[in-house]
Symmetry: C2
Subunit: 252 residues, 2 copies
């Protein structure tokens, strides 16, 4: 039996969610509420001591790290008709260069801006005593720092540097998609799933950077992924939580 502990279909939680829907695997979804720090509660830290979603429970074995979970689903269910990993070793490597890049570079700069815009106002609305209590329950020190930065507002120079990286990332995606139908090569793979997890919605939240005029291949790719049956089913069945970046109230 497969149980996925996750937030709604955005960012890292989207990766295994979309992979499960694409492959047509039956699973139970346990959706946690980040607004009440549910992922830092003791019951969940018994499942993932890092207090991070997504986490997959497969017959009692726990697999963590969103990209690792996606490759796991390929390894554990080779009989499923839809494959999200190529067979050719060279193309697998190209896929992995792109899943690695989103995890090490692209996701972080987009995340900081998202935290500044959406998590910041939420974090500031929590009374100080309660906020400090919540911080004590976070296992990863860097996550505590991120929450504190969001609450007081990220420094201006940090936000500028992150926006530089966002622009560079978008230029890289646009360049690649202008020469290749999918990120990893001729086929739709986990490279697309994992980068879509971050890029989807940027045509609204980052409309000055991601738009049909400046990045036509990227917006076309975002539409093509959204049009896939598995993706449609996912968005039809699962709502995003209220913490999703809300560009209308953006402060950065």
């Amino acid at each position: 039996m497969l149980t996925l502990y996750c937030f709604g279909p955005g960012a890292n939680s989207l990766k295994p969610l979309l992979t499960l829907y694409e492959k047509g695997l039956e699973f139970t979804r346990k959706q946690l509420n980040p607004a009440v720090f549910e992922h830092h509660e003791d019951w969940f830290k018994k499942i993932n001591p890092n207090g991070q979603v997504p986490a997959l429970d497969h017959d009692g074995k726990i697999i963590t790290e969103s990209t690792v979970i996606c490759e796991y689903l390929e390894d554990a269910f080779p009989e499923m008709p839809i494959k999200l990993r190529p067979k050719d070793p060279y193309l697998i490597a190209q896929m992995r260069i792109w899943t690695k890049w989103v995890d090490e570079y692209f996701c972080w700069c987009v995340s900081t801006i998202g935290w500044e815009r959406a998590i910041g106002p939420m974090a500031r609305s929590i009374p100080e005593d309660e906020f400090e209590e919540k911080m004590k329950r976070i296992p990863i020190p860097e996550q505590v720092t991120k929450w504190r930065n969001a609450r007081k507002g990220f420094p201006k120079d940090v936000l500028e540097e992150e926006m530089r990286k966002v622009r560079l990332s978008i230029a890289r995606l646009e360049a690649r998609l202008s020469e290749s139908k999918w990120l990893g090569g001729p086929d739709y793979t986990l490279a697309d799933v994992c980068n879509f997890a971050i890029a989807n919605g940027m045509e609204r939240g980052f409309a000055d950077v991601v738009n049909d005029k400046d990045t036509p291949h990227l917006t076309d790719w975002i539409r093509r992924v959204n049009d896939r049956p598995g993706c449609k089913e996912m968005f039809a069945k699962i709502k995003r939580e209220s913490l999703a970046p809300r560009p209308k109230t953006a402060t950065a």
Copy 2:
């Protein structure tokens, strides 16, 4: 035919080097000299536009990113007797959590301290005109920033934060190796290869953190990897370049 473009057997270059020696694959080694910025020369940027080693040429196809290269060698040569990736999907996932962690966390903090100690003095010995010329040839902006930081000396608070992460990383490795023979589980895998690439030598360069008294399981693991025939052959055949961290002249 396999050709590996690399530095000596340390850090990211060690990962595919050790994988090739472990698997007994024949390959040509093209060792670049970082002291003269050979990896930023035009001939090499035609092979890897990022100007980074290692890069593998397999019959004319280029694979980049050290960890991706290691998994590629598993995918491309499944007939080799020594496997560095388990067969069980759960154990593959555990291996990948560790290769991901070294790439996203452990390698960076150790690298900053290494750059401060070994690259800093070297960078400062280059005349300013020549240094600025070299900087213009580096394709990745973050690498330029790193070279400039090394030349002027990393800020004290950055070095302190990186040392905090080094200590946390070492504690994590020691805890894991006190409960498991190898990092990924019962077998020696790419999890060990990729973490060894960073941890090997820390019992000299970071002797106050990595030593038989405080981290007996970690130092034992370092010795066990060094004792493997493939590792012995690698170190016997290839010298590290003169840029390797030299603790005796450490400034941090």
